[in-house]
Symmetry: D3
């Protein structure tokens, strides 16, 4: 797992062999699916119990949800853009390109979701996620109702907010550790893939 040495720069990336067996299984599964081990897995293994909860939360957010996967990734990229998080912009930018089949959307949303090529409903969704990121105490019932006006159920609003909230955690872990995106992520899902 030599390539993982640059997964993060402020904490020592553990040897694959020292990682508990259940996490190794999860990492291996992810590696097989992606063709490489996303660095967040190598980095989070630094603290196995944190790793398990982090991955479980992430999985819950994409599995028990009213949102399409591409909507989840739109939110992730918008929030990570606001928080200036290289790892998440690049890694989830790749996922967004793939899930939305839209090679230019990641750069658009990461820099300014207000002028991105998305529907009005999705723009409202990203407005909500960005407000919860930048000025969480100012989110009011009126903001929730505006999302409902755009067709989101109350249940879906929970999901929009939860994904935004989770990546406010995730972005800060990446900044804390100086996590580095794998080289592969920079190019995945671009025009000629």
């Amino acid at each position: 797992m030599a390539d993982a040495d640059d997964a993060m720069r402020r904490f020592a990336v553990p040897d694959h062999d020292d990682v508990p067996e259940d996490l190794r299984a999860r990492i291996d599964e992810e590696t097989e699916r992606a063709g490489f081990t996303p660095n967040v897995f190598s980095a989070m293994a630094y603290r196995p119990s944190h790793f398990r909860a982090f991955v479980a939360y992430h999985d819950a957010l994409v599995e028990e949800t009213e949102l399409e996967r591409e909507e989840v990734e739109m939110i992730v990229v918008a929030v990570s853009g606001v928080n200036d998080c290289l790892y998440c912009i690049v890694a989830h930018g790749a996922l967004l390109r793939i899930y939305a089949d839209a090679p230019k959307l990641a750069e658009q949303i990461a820099s300014n979701h207000r002028t991105a090529d998305v529907s009005e409903a999705h723009r409202a969704m990203l407005d909500f996620a960005v407000k919860l990121t930048e000025r969480p105490a100012e989110v009011t019932e009126a903001d929730v109702e505006r999302l409902e006006d755009h067709g989101f159920s109350r249940r879906a609003v929970w999901d929009v907010g939860s994904v935004a909230a989770f990546f406010n955690l995730s972005n800060r872990l990446a900044h804390l550790a100086d996590m580095r995106p794998n080289d592969e992520f920079y190019d995945l899902g671009r025009g000629d893939d």
Copy 2:
């Protein structure tokens, strides 16, 4: 579980009977320990899979850690103060009073950790947590080393940052749902308890 109806105001608090059995067991255990059900449990049951991961992450942060529990609560209160989160200031303020046996510390740290009655090492710890909250992209290796100069191991820095990061998630969930602290939390751990 009638008292829980005010646990949050923007989403419907589920009936205790409708909550999956494993979560009910966890809630009951918490209720027995505290003498009341902390509202965050009633609220998070809205989405069982999110609840499980949220609680697991929280437990990991207080169990696999280099920090004393009172240090964890100091960080929670400082971060929640910056994020203006009523639920976490009041609920974790109570925990801080109890764990640190310091009835005035919660108000001090929630309003301004810079002049709170804490050691210089703890002030540095809170400076780090607040910076990761307010300006995460500006955290550098030099900030990590400053914490090490105050006696924190590199491993402990991960924990300081992880607690801060997690409550940037938690505060936003509370704002999203307009979670309300239980009445009991306001008074727990004050002078004459």
Copy 3:
């Protein structure tokens, strides 16, 4: 007056005997009423002429006003929350609990007036006070009229604004001197007082 030594930490608290007679009389009167000497009196005696004007202004604001005393204290706590002022949050938090007979209101308003248990008119009042605190140059006639729509007279708007303005002074004096709230304030007016 030994207890007053911790009234502030950056300037020397004067001996009670060295304080001019008129101020001593005022301090003694306050001490008799409260059962202890609020630290702001001990601290402000550092400069007798400033003390006199400060107290006179404060008295004018609670005496020549269209506002109820509990409204004044709501504004004080909201402004002091925005300015992160420990002394005023704790001391006026106690006064708010007492005047409004509402043991949870201080924590609610200090952290986020937007979700506090107050009427819509009072929320508008606090919005105005917070805007005048955070972005004073952006206050316009439209903001004044919005308060009038909520039933405040033009004369009352002056009072809302003046209380907010005065505590922008007061909070900064407390930060300047590192004033400390008396222990008594932390618990006054809570549920079982």
Copy 4:
């Protein structure tokens, strides 16, 4: 007192005859000295008891002080510049030009005290006043000591901070009322007066 009608735009300027006698005497005295009635007097008469305390505080700050009057006016202009307060920039800009005998200093300090033509000690004084204005909770003992290093006594630091704090009140009253500077102030103390 017809000219005073434009003293402020959001509240009615009282007729001179309706103003209590002690205030009228004070206004007349000021008018005689300046050759015109500064609009702040006409405006503050809206609430006589506030007027008395406001003027008393202002007088205390310029009378019981370790600072030269031109230093007081430097602080006022710097703070008012940060707070974007037209009335105080123009009226106290005139006073600064006169007291410091420096016709260009007001514009320099109001726009950016960092490059104004002042001594290093005065720049440190203005840094302190601006920090107490913009980020009051971040003022620490180290900031106080830095001013002492520039030759200010601890007592003088109180005065620097108090003037800054008072004009955080004053600027907000002016914004609240939309106070307008008298025409005379714009030109007073310029080169060829």
Copy 5:
């Protein structure tokens, strides 16, 4: 050209004789018109090719435009006020006084355009310029349409935005070099000129 030595403080002002001939001609022309050499010309000669483009852009903005010259200067002063730029506030403040024949307008707009003595259309124009300065990514089609509602053509909106954008360049060059306004600018266009 001895007087120009203070044109800027961080870079050496070139000798007039060392300046390329075409620039010297332009400087001389400006000197003849104004009666003195505006310091920006002396300063920008530091890099002749930059000087040429800078002046050409400025000239284009005041020549190929839908705006009156006094409108251009209003925008310049508002933007420079937001950016705290002494040189541009003072030099273009003088131009504004002259072009608008309004001796008090510069101080009003530089401190707070919201309460300046301008028409509602001009206030909207300045709102737009200030938003493009402070929060450029948040400018939307709705902002453009709001200006159109006030009678500005779409073409004129380009000009409002372009002047604002150019002075975001110009203000930063002045801050970079610590450019100083000529003494003459402070008094030009005041009441008794």
Copy 6:
């Protein structure tokens, strides 16, 4: 020039035939070099005189300079990242990849120059450019000297600052017009080009 219709969304892109001949020549030259017409050319032709000055200034900045072209592009991408400017991030991100022969550098600098793979001298250069962008009034002689300590000549500091200043103009023009990057820019200079 049908493809140019999406060059910007808030103003009409002029027909190539209606563009003055000298600009058409310049556009054609650029088109030949790049293989496509960068949208900024199509958009700026909206106002020919502005176009000429804009292009002349840009050319001066890359021609009369102490900086390497890749340093110029680093500054452009850092400033555009701070200003959230899609057009400049994507178009100049491509140029940066090409000039620096570094396919990952654009994403790194656009999101957070502090952890980008650049030398310490280049990080100081980007710190300076970002400070001049975000807090221009706070740039002091000490900032200039810090750059000199990293080996930049005083002359080079002018260039660093001028490029940063120019893209504060350019980013705002792009936001004003809602300029859109050509599809080609998204992929140029990536790993397998």
